[in-house]
């Protein structure tokens, strides 16, 4: 098979940090080539370099044997490279049709020739089995359909090489199968696919060859037929990881939080809750499994007082919640690790120490007269002790939190939320984007909190994470609870089906 793409010695630096270091990659025509690696291994950066979004600090790219310089996405598109980003590049205010023809340079004329374009798109869609509803606004179609729009967009622009960046992250199992069928069709049409993932099962199923990245560097490229899951995992992590199985609690204590037939924006499948009843006991971790956007955010925000449910009741530590305000819940010792740490958790332009004491400046240890005069020295010293305890790596506790890495930002939040020995901890995607070490740290902290009698609600789109630490697993789909399963020896098949709404 002839070679379509070769990337040689690609290095990309952000400040003093190397995101890619001397990476080599070669892709052949008509193959599915997987880039495998942990979060932060440099996969997305490499692809952004290929797509002209980043300029490499060093290195050379060859397409069809010829050296090329890709200075912009426009250039990449012209060269026949198509990319489906992890976060879809779809304009929500526009329709599917408009999104596909956006930026079209192939046709002449000032006006949009709707009929001709529609015909063209429909033909293309039929050929690859990409079912889409052209006149629907993007906001009204499911995630799987949005992905098909993205693929169609790339093909419409004549892509020969298609990059799929974590395409299965937000899909249900059924949708993943649909995607794989599409990929097979692409292969048959002699198109090349770069598939980015860290999910071993999928990688083994779809790839022809696999290139493993670790910490920004190429580890090796292997044929699918010559490897297996265990080998790949070792290559990916670079060391043998002892399977850490936390002990599972089967008898939780008294409930700290109980929801009774709670509903919120019932009609909305992706951002509402429909008749949710659950309870979280002291000393247990309840894991909510499910694909992103099935009401998990809303659930988290109700049990932390950010949102007020339309119907139903909530009981916090044995008494009915009369008014839903974040402050009311904080006073009752509810801690929250929100889903978006930069947007919801941290004041990015404030220092590490300010973020650590964010909620507690009125306490006597940090101020006189109920906040009338801040004890700056006490705050500083406390922050230093937290920096040590939670292993927050920063130049100084006076550094702004937005300049910290994701893992350290999360540790700042942990230091703030866990130090008060909360009665209830709500953690949403607590390890998203973190490396293995930081992830382990977060999990250990949650287990510790459980040991101190805290009830933990863990919401995560990472199924493995939910399996790893939950004592009880609840599956959510389209705002409803599909089933409750034990955390010890969970029925994985059954849970997967429930996550897909079956």
């Amino acid at each position: 098979m002839e070679e379509i793409l070769r990337m040689e010695h690609i290095t990309k630096q952000f400040g003093s940090v190397y995101a890619n270091r001397d990476i080599n990659l070669e892709v052949r025509r008509g193959e599915v080539h997987t880039l495998l690696g942990e979060n932060g291994a440099g996969k997305s950066t490499l692809m952004n370099v290929l797509f002209g979004l980043y300029q490499p600090t060093a290195g050379q790219i060859y397409l069809n044997g010829k050296p090329v310089k890709i200075t912009s996405p426009a250039e990449a598109v012209k060269l026949g490279i198509g990319m489906v980003h992890q976060h879809f590049m779809l304009v929500e205010a526009m329709t599917v049709f408009e999104n596909i023809i956006l930026g079209d340079k192939r046709t002449k004329g000032v006006f949009i020739d709707r009929d001709a374009r529609r015909k063209e798109i429909t033909e293309l869609a039929d050929r690859y089995g990409l079912e889409v509803e052209l006149d629907k606004p993007i906001t009204e179609i499911a995630v799987g359909a949005q992905q098909r729009v993205e693929i169609l967009k790339a093909l419409y622009r004549g892509a020969e090489l298609l990059v799929l960046d974590e395409p299965t992250a937000a899909l249900t199992d059924l949708e993943v199968e649909g995607l794989f069928e599409i990929i097979e069709k692409l292969k048959k049409e002699n198109k090349s696919v770069i598939f980015i993932s860290h999910k071993m099962r999928e990688v083994l199923k779809i790839s022809d060859r696999i290139t493993v990245l670790r910490a920004g560097q190429t580890v090796c490229t292997v044929e699918r037929s010559e490897t297996d899951g265990a080998k790949l995992a070792n290559l990916m992590m670079g060391r043998e990881l002892a399977p850490s199985h936390y002990e599972k609690i089967e008898q939780p204590g008294e409930p700290v939080m109980t929801l009774d037939h709670v509903s919120y924006h019932k009609a909305s499948k992706h951002s509402g809750l429909n008749d949710i009843s659950l309870s979280i006991g002291r000393g247990e971790i309840v894991g909510i499994a499910g694909v992103d956007g099935n009401g998990q955010s809303q659930l988290a925000q109700i049990v932390t007082g950010v949102l007020t449910p339309d119907e139903g009741e909530a009981d916090l530590k044995g008494s009915k919640v009369a008014k839903f305000t974040p402050n009311g819940f904080i006073v009752e010792n509810v801690a929250h690790i929100p889903e978006d740490r930069n947007k919801m958790g941290l004041i990015g332009n404030m220092s590490v120490q300010d973020n650590i004491v964010l909620k507690s400046t009125e306490e006597p240890r940090f101020s006189d007269g109920h906040g009338a005069h801040l004890k700056k020295k006490a705050i500083h010293e406390y922050a230093l002790s937290m920096q040590e305890k939670y292993d927050i790596r920063c130049e100084s506790v006076e550094q702004e939190t937005r300049n910290l890495s994701g893992g350290n930002q999360q540790k700042v939040i942990l230091a703030r939320e866990l130090e008060g020995n909360p009665d209830l901890l709500v953690a949403v995607h607590p390890t998203r984007g973190l490396d293995i070490g930081a992830t382990r740290f977060v999990h250990d902290s949650m287990i510790d909190a459980r040991g101190k009698g805290c009830g933990v609600l863990l919401i995560s789109a990472d199924f493995d994470e939910v399996l790893e630490i939950s004592d009880r697993i609840i599956v959510m789909f389209e705002g409803q609870i599909m089933g409750v399963y034990p955390g010890k020896n969970p029925p994985i098949e059954e849970i997967s089906l429930a996550m897909a709404g079956k």
């Binding site: 797509f51 590049m89 304009v91 929500e92 930026g103 000032v110 006006f111 622009r157």
Partner: protein
């Protein structure tokens, strides 16, 4: 009160606001909130006045206003697009800078003498046939060319954003610039183009005041019309038709207060002059809840941001 006169002056009063509101629409559709419209207008007003005064041609004045507007707005463009300065802050800086420059140039050129410099006002041109429509014809089709220009711009803008490929790409820049970039749209260039259009239209709006409306220049001639235009865009929900309606409403308030002033000389005129500002507030409070704006509005765009 003469209804015909009132409509006539509504149309005339709405024109500058309309031009400037369209300017803002073009800017915001590319994701740039420009609150420096008042400043751009005042510079356009001066440029228009001076050229008209020197050459005697209001048309050249309008052209000068457009050029002046572009010139000033390029400062805003460079700082907000290339330097990623906060748009609101920089718009404010333009509001302080541009009137100061305008007033300085006026003083240097005309001195501080008490005699008022006056230029020639643009004459109305009646459109054949259309002007013969009973009643409305005389009111709508016997105006200065700038009025026609403004209303044609509304139609053009509606077609541009809804029917053309360029318009679709343009909107994508204001909605999701990164997506636009991945589709090969040059976001930075598009934003600069947006600023040129915005500067030109706002400059014309300013020049209209000194070449079509009054025949002198004075500091504060703009009188907050840039901000009224800004509210017209919100009130008009970022569509050219909506903006037109909002501007006609505000123009009507302006026309009404002038009529009332002339009719009630015993009542203090300031009471009537408040009408347009109060109306803007009431209209916004009643209907202007912000929700439909372009999604990436006000956000700086950095390509290599991680």
């Amino acid at each position: 009160m003469d209804i015909g006169e009132l409509i006539l002056s509504t149309v005339r009063m709405a024109t500058p606001i309309l031009l400037v509101a369209l300017a803002e629409l073009y800017s915001e559709r590319a994701g740039l909130v420009n609150i420096g419209l008042d400043g751009i207008m005042s510079f356009g007003a001066l440029a228009g006045f001076m050229v008209c005064f020197i050459t005697g041609s209001p048309f050249l004045g309008i052209l000068a206003g457009a050029m002046g507007g572009i010139l000033i707005n390029m400062i805003y463009a460079y700082c907000t697009i290339s330097l990623c300065a906060e748009q609101i802050v920089y718009g404010m800086a333009i509001n302080i800078f541009a009137p100061a420059v305008a007033s300085f140039i006026y003083r240097i050129y005309f001195g501080v003498s008490s005699t008022l410099a006056q230029d020639t006002l643009m004459k109305s041109i009646a459109i054949p046939y259309l002007k013969d429509i009973p009643f409305l014809g005389k009111l709508l089709f016997d105006q200065t060319p700038m009025v026609y220009f403004a209303y044609l711009m509304v139609v053009f803008t509606a077609i541009f954003f809804n029917k053309t490929k360029k318009g679709l790409n343009y909107k994508a820049v204001g909605e999701y610039p990164k997506a636009a970039e991945t589709l090969g749209i040059n976001v930075i260039r598009q934003k600069y183009v947006a600023c040129m259009i915005c500067g030109a239209l706002a400059g014309i709006g300013g020049a209209y005041l000194t070449t079509c409306y009054v025949n002198t220049y004075s500091d504060g001639v703009v009188a907050g019309r840039g901000f009224i235009a800004l509210s017209a865009v919100i009130f008009g929900r970022w569509s050219s038709g909506g903006v037109l309606l909002a501007c006609l409403l505000f123009g009507f308030c302006d026309a009404l207060q002038l009529r009332l002033q002339i009719m009630n000389t015993s009542t203090p005129y300031q009471l009537f002059q408040m009408i347009p500002y109060v109306c803007t507030l009431v209209a916004l409070a009643a209907f202007g809840i912000k929700k439909a704006g372009p999604k990436a509005n006000g956000k700086p765009y950095m390509r290599e941001e991680r």
